[in-house]
Every structure is written in structure tokens, then in C-alpha cells.
Symmetry: C2
Subunit: 474 residues, 2 copies
């Protein structure tokens, strides 16, 4: 039975999305325009993301720090490209208490400037390098159009910031962290993102170059899912961050930054979920298994407890729904919340030595004998679900991947069914802007290792330099 709270995905994708957000109680609108409340079910997913990424960052030698939320205007202005990129979308603090401030402060839209300000007093020799920092925090960008998780004025993210004594080492970091995001999306979120280089126009303000992970949503719209920037010495020159190198000469540091955000909660919804609510890949699900007793007999409750203890011992996250609600209501609730596996234990079934497992992703009911090795069965089932979800998302992505040889191909695709569109490009920004005229379609990324398709720019027909993936974005 369809969830009445949720509009059909194929009928109205935008409405379906916000319905899932509300029905799964992931986020709520607030009295502050463009800002959301991340509710317990949403925040638990973010905590799981943090746990997995934080462990990986630390394994790679990064340390967490916390820098100020507010940035003095003069400090922000030192790097001209950054300020041009971000000034239109920052919030300004002008008063502290009852007094007007001598200099206004912006709420951080990103923290490169603050990190540079910190580095400059804490680095003097190559022996102090590299510095590998990460920060979990909130940032604010004064967006005009907002959508829960995907684009919100305030959002939560992690921003990695590192400095190095050589170009090579810094570029290695930029690549390494992009690989971490790729791993995170593919192996944990079951989202088959593609990885490439942003064009000059689309790169981060102030970066020498930006690597990006781009995910494709169910409706064929792209989502920038994680970026890793190489700054070279641009910021270190603007902020005067120098060190004495092994030859005892003063040199500017080489810098990177990289980040991913709560928007990936939106990504999980838009890639995997359905008309029954949220569908979560087991590796990111805060609750992996819910056990629902039907009736309260001693046999039922004893098996509920037994399963719960056995699974918890294996670090599987389990809840038992022992509330007074009806079984049907509990099933629907587990379903809308996206819990990967539901175990239904009922008196009638137990008499026949049966227990029912329900997969959230396929909604398949699997009746098993109570003799089964529940721990291994559930472990395998969770792995199967994770893999199946990835493969379905990959198949969907492949079905929504197109090739365009000229602008009218591009138009046809975008007017029929948007997706990832592969097309060659001459490298000229004018051609990029020409594509953008079609429903705001932008270059997603340059695939540096891919051969050209037919060697001609999809817009001007001149010699192409890059094989580019294009698409409409959130």
C-alpha cells in the first residue's frame, strides 16, 4: 500500500522529494527563511557520515580543529577571486550587543581565509609541514532558492585544509581526498558518482583547479557531491604564508582544501528512495535492522530478544519496536524511515518455525526457518542489499547517460530526459555559456583520461580539447 503522505516520484519529483523529507522526519522548515531544522532521523545519518569520514581522515593523518565562525571583511578581501566568488552570498554581522562594529564581520561561507590567517603565525620551517587539518562546522551562504539538504542557507559540512612544502605533495593530497570521496560515495552511500576536473568557469573561486565528484539523481539531475581544490600558492601569497625550505630559502606554502556536506542526505534520498519513503544503504543506515513482534507471547518476545542480542554482538545496529502501535503501523514506519531489513516475528509463524525478513530496497518478503543462522543470514542480506542498491543506481546512471555531437543533440536530450551528457568541448567559455542557455545546463566535469568523442566542440564545431560531462544541477 502506497504511503499517503508521499506524492508519487514519477508524478512530481520535487514534491515527492520534500514529502519523503517530511514523512521520514529528516528535516523540518524553520522560521528562518532558507534554514532547516535537521531532525533526529536526518541528524543520525549525518552522524554516521561524520563517523565514517572522520575515521578515514584521521587514518590519513588529519587533525580536527575549530576556527572562528566570523571573518573580518578586510581579511576576506585579501584574496580577490575568493571575495568576488563569495561576497554576493555572505551574511554580514554589523552589530555586537547594542554597538555598531568598527568593521563588519561575515559568517564563514568557507574558511580558507581563516586558515591562512592561522597558518601564517604557526608555520616557519619545512619541518612544520605538512599541516593536515579538518573542521566539522556550519557555514552560511545566502542562497536565493533553497531546498532541504540540497541547498540551504546554513548547512553542516567538513572542510579539510592542508598546507605542504611542495607542489607535488599538495597535488597528491588533492587527488587523495577526491579518492576518499569517491570511495565514500561508491562503497558507503552506494552512489556511483563520476570524478573529474571542473572547468575554469565552474572551479572554486580562488583555486588553481577543482576536482569534483558528481552524482546523478533518479530524475537525471546532477548533484555536486564533494570537491577537492588545489590552490598552489595563490592564497599563501595573498595571506603571506611562508616557510623556510630545506635550502633555507623563504617560500610560499602549497595549499589544498576539500569538503562534503549535509547535502549528501538529499543525495541519498534522490538516488535510492521510492514512493514508500526513504531507502538507505545498509552501510550508512543509523538503524540497519528493526525487529517487530506480532503479538506479545513469551515465544515471540524470547526470539525478539535473542535475535536482538545476537545481532548487536556483531555490531549490527538493531532496534526492537516494542511500542503499543499495531504491527501494520510499525511496518509502515520502518519502511518510511528506510531501515534496510525488517524482521517480523509472529506467533502463528513461530508455530510453523517460520520468521519473515523484509528487504526495504525491493520490499521483498523472505520467509525463513527459525533454524537459520540469523547473524550470518542478516550480514549477507545487508551486503546483498548494499550491492544491489549500488548496481541499480549504476544501471540507472548508465540509462541516463547520453552522448551529444552537436547543440541540437544536447537540446533534444535536455528537453526529453536530462542526464549526464558526454560531449566534446573546445575549452572556450563562450561555448560553455551557450550550453547553459539550454535549461541552465552546465559542465559537470572534464574527464581527463577519456578520449575525445569526435574531436569537435559540441557548440562551435572547432577542434575540441576536452571530453566533458554536462548536466542540469541542483
Amino acid at each position: 500500500m502506497k504511503n499517503k503522505m508521499i506524492t508519487s516520484r514519477d508524478e512530481d519529483f520535487a514534491k515527492w522529494y520534500t514529502d519523503v523529507v517530511r514523512a521520514a522526519e529528516l528535516a523540518a522548515y524553520s522560521s528562518v527563511k532558507g534554514c532547516i531544522v535537521i531532525e533526529p532521523n536526518g541528524y543520525a545519518i549525518w552522524e554516521k557520515m561524520q563517523e565514517i569520514l572522520d575515521k578515514k581522515f584521521k587514518e590519513l593523518g588529519h587533525q580536527n580543529v575549530q576556527l572562528p565562525l566570523l571573518i573580518p571583511e578586510s581579511l576576506l578581501k585579501k584574496e580577490s577571486e575568493l571575495v568576488e566568488g563569495f561576497a554576493p552570498e555572505v551574511a554580514w554581522v554589523t552589530h555586537g550587543g547594542s554597538k555598531e562594529l568598527e568593521e563588519r564581520l561575515c559568517i564563514r561561507p568557507t574558511s580558507e581565509t581563516m586558515f591562512c590567517d592561522y597558518y601564517k603565525d604557526h608555520v616557519s620551517s619545512y619541518r612544520d609541514l605538512p599541516k593536515l587539518y579538518n573542521q566539522w562546522c556550519n557555514v552560511l551562504r545566502w542562497e536565493k532558492e533553497t531546498r532541504p539538504f540540497l541547498r540551504s542557507r546554513e548547512f553542516l559540512w567538513q572542510e579539510g585544509h592542508t598546507i605542504h612544502s611542495t607542489k607535488e605533495e599538495a597535488e597528491k593530497e588533492t587527488n587523495q581526498m577526491m579518492e576518499v570521496y569517491r570511495w565514500f560515495h561508491h562503497d558507503i552511500l552506494a552512489i556511483p558518482s563520476i570524478t573529474g576536473l571542473k572547468t575554469e568557469k565552474e572551479k572554486f573561486a580562488g583555486a588553481e583547479y577543482t576536482l569534483t565528484n558528481e552524482a546523478l539523481m533518479y530524475n537525471g539531475v546532477a548533484l555536486q557531491a564533494g570537491t577537492s581544490h588545489y590552490f598552489g600558492q595563490k592564497f599563501s601569497k595573498a595571506y603571506d604564508v611562508k616557510f623556510s625550505n630545506t635550502e633555507n630559502n623563504l617560500e610560499y606554502v602549497y595549499q589544498t582544501s576539500w569538503g562534503t556536506t549535509t547535502r549528501m542526505i538529499g543525495g541519498l534520498i534522490m538516488v535510492h528512495s521510492d514512493d514508500y519513503g526513504l531507502v538507505l544503504p545498509p552501510r550508512i543506515a543509523p538503524v540497519q535492522v528493526t525487529i517487530i513482534p506480532i503479538g506479545k507471547s513469551e515465544e515471540v518476545m524470547s526470539l525478539v530478544n535473542k535475535y536482538s542480542i545476537l545481532l548487536k554482538e556483531q555490531n549490527i545496529s538493531v532496534t526492537c519496536d516494542l511500542t503499543e502501535k499495531s504491527p501494520g503501523f510499525k511496518f509502515a514506519e520502518a519502511e518510511v524511515k528506510g531501515i534496510p531489513v525488517r524482521i517480523e516475528i509472529g506467533e502463528r509463524d513461530l508455530k510453523e518455525n517460520k520468521v519473515t525478513f523484509v528487504r526495504r530496497d525491493t520490499r521483498e518478503k523472505i520467509v525463513q526457518s527459525t533454524d537459520l543462522d540469523v547473524v550470518n543470514y542478516v550480514k549477507e542480506l545487508l551486503d546483498t542489499i548494499q550491492n544491489d542498491m549500488y548496481n541499480r543506481a549504476l544501471e540507472r546512471r548508465e540509462n541516463l547517460t547520453f552522448v551529444a555531437h552537436n547543440l541540437s543533440d544536447m537540446e533534444n536530450i535536455l528537453n526529453t530526459q536530462p542526464g549526464f551528457i558526454h560531449a566534446d568541448w573546445c575549452g572556450d567559455e563562450a561555448c560553455e555559456l551557450k550550453v547553459k542557455e539550454i535549461k541552465g545546463c552546465k559542465s559537470r566535469c572534464i574527464l581527463e583520461d577519456e578520449k575525445l568523442i569526435d574531436g569537435k566542440c559540441v557548440v562551435c564545431g572547432k577542434d575540441a580539447k576536452h571530453h566533458v560531462v554536462w548536466g542540469i544541477q541542483y
Copy 2:
């Protein structure tokens, strides 16, 4: 040998404090007045605090959420006492991007208003209650005088916010969370805080009453270390948060909030640390044991590795300092960072089957045979250190606890050696203000379960109502 970076604690306590903060690399000043950078060593302590408290909060049924950073002025103003209490110290956002806002927004100094705004649309029946929320976030208060960790314009904290269907249940929550803080300070931070009730003057703006944990620093100055507020229906009436109770009548919810902050990192320094740097109780130390090889012989390195593996298996947090620095430099570094136990493994000692353990708290060197059961020995040593640190802090607190029978007693004590001063009070705010004239001394808390000392108010001599602890505060 004394650490040259650190002023003697007995010579200049304030300078000693900031020297320890810098020498242990816990925090750095930033270009934003009154805001600090929490550096890796400081942030790691905060992460450990978060881990321990978060686990406890969740065990007690609380869920984490994230509410907006910005609060519309009109929303803040709905509760008059709160706005009076906080308006002088909030930062105001007046511009978003290039446009002036229609209504200015303040950066949250605390989130009662936002939680009420959220509750009102998400609670309708007693079946929806209680709601037990917690939020880990940054807040901002426009303080005039600041000091790293202890008083900073921006700080990190957790703020618990709960609503209940009965007064009894809400008051139970208020008490329970105060008990959690008491446990956290005593059992984890080894800080023997005292617990009591704030006076009307000192309670949280808008609360019916505030419970507080008050810690005493090495120099006899008090630090408010965690508070738990009972709001009754004050906010729920102001923000119209109603539910239908079991009799199907509309009723306002009963509310609590409770919080503790990064200032406790300052508390750890001021209670436990010394002229050699930071001293951390083992249960809050991000690194509990450091192993320092002297020389690089195969025997040395093999024992370093063996100990490291054995201790890690028992979930003891261990680092091995394998850098190129000299052993003496490594010892000093481990000392200044406050690592509870240092193990020195050297070639010469190994020939005699000896290994050296050094306690950070007492700086005692203990030579042991290499035959010892290292895991149990270290476990016991960590417990001993934890207990000894608590007992020393308790003894210090007791030595700095005084009784005053009249105002001149109070003056004498505060002019000689401040501390916790027990004295009776009539309950009149005028008398409280009279005490404040002496070096800004305030009531710390009312000890409700304590008998009166001599039944007369320490100021006016009239009949006393309360046994109060007084003190100068950070």
C-alpha cells in the same frame, strides 16, 4: 627542569594559564577579537568530552538535532526575560549578500526560542511527549572581556532541550541532567564540583530555576561548570507550545534545558595543571600513554611495538614517539601536553631488564622489571592517577573553603585568599548586591540540603533562609 615557556603558577596565575594554553597548543588567538582557534590538542579533548557525554545522553533517551544558527529578532523577543538577559550580548546580522534584511537576525546565544518555534508545530498530543533533544553546536555571546576557553565570544557547547507532559517529569529531567554533569566532572574530569540552586538574580534568564555545578580553580576562583534549567510553562506560554493531555484538555508543555561548554577545557587546566604544562586526568586524555624509545636498537623497538600493541588491544590510547627529536625533547613535549603516563624504553635499561614509567601528575619515575604484566600495570596506574588527581583537587577545594559569619569575615577572606565561602543569606537581593561590592563576589549556589550555619544573614544579620556558597568567578 622548568618549562621556559610557562610563567610560574604561583607568580602570575593569569599569565601561567595563557602560557599553558599556548605551550600545550590547545588554542591560539585569531584575527577576530574575542574568538579563538581551537587547535588539534584542544579539540581532541573536546571530542573526548563529546564522546563521553553524547553516549550518556543517548543512553538516557536523548536524540541529537541541529537547529538554525540565526534567530529572527521578533522570535527572540517573545520571551521578555530571555531577551532582556541576552539582548546586550548578541551579534546581529543585518545584511544578506548585498541586501539589507527586512528583519535582523541574531546569532544564537542559546536556542530555547528556536526549540519552542520547532516544538509548536511538532507536538499535539501527550503521546508525542516527552521530546528529549540535544544539540552540539557553536553559540555566540558578545563578551567584553575574553579569555581562551573560559570566556570567548564564540564557544562550542551542547544544549539539551526537552519538553514533557507533566511538571514532575520535567523537574526529574532537570535533576537527572545535573546529576549527569556532576558525574562527568567528578568521575571523568576529576573535578570535585559542588551542586546547588542558583539565586533568582543568578539564574538563567527566563528559567523558573537553575541548578548549577560549580568548580573551584587552583587559585580559589569559581567556574560555573554546567547548568540545568527548569522552565515550567514560561516559554511554552510565550511561544504557544500546547498538547492535549490524557483528559483531552489543551495544556502547555513543561520544559527544560541544560548545557556544558568548551570552557571545561579551561577548567581542566586551572584545576589540575602545573608549571610544566597541562596535566590531564586519564579518562579525558585523548592520548593516555606515550612510549618513547631511547635509541633505535632492535630490542628497544621490539619492546616499544609489543607494548603499543598490547595496550591498544585493551583500548588504551597510546602513541609511540618515533620522531627524530632527542629523548629529552620528547619527554618535555609529552609533559607539556599532559599525557598521563610516559614509558621510556632505553637500551641501557633493557640490559638490566628495566623499563621506566613516568606519571605526569606527580612527575614520579617508577622503574619496573620488563617481566611485569604491562597491561594490568598501566591500567592500574591510570586508575591511580585518576583517583589521586581527584583527591588532590578535593583537598585543595577543602583547603580553599571558608565560612563567613559577617561581611567583614567575607572581606577578610576575599582579600587574603578567595575560595568557596559558606555563609547564610536572608534571600534579599540587596544583600546579594552588597556582597558583590567586594571584588565582584557572587552567590555561586544555594545548598538546599545544608543546614543554616548560624541562622543570620551574612550581610544584614536578619533571619537567614539559605545556606549559600559565595565566590569570585571567571
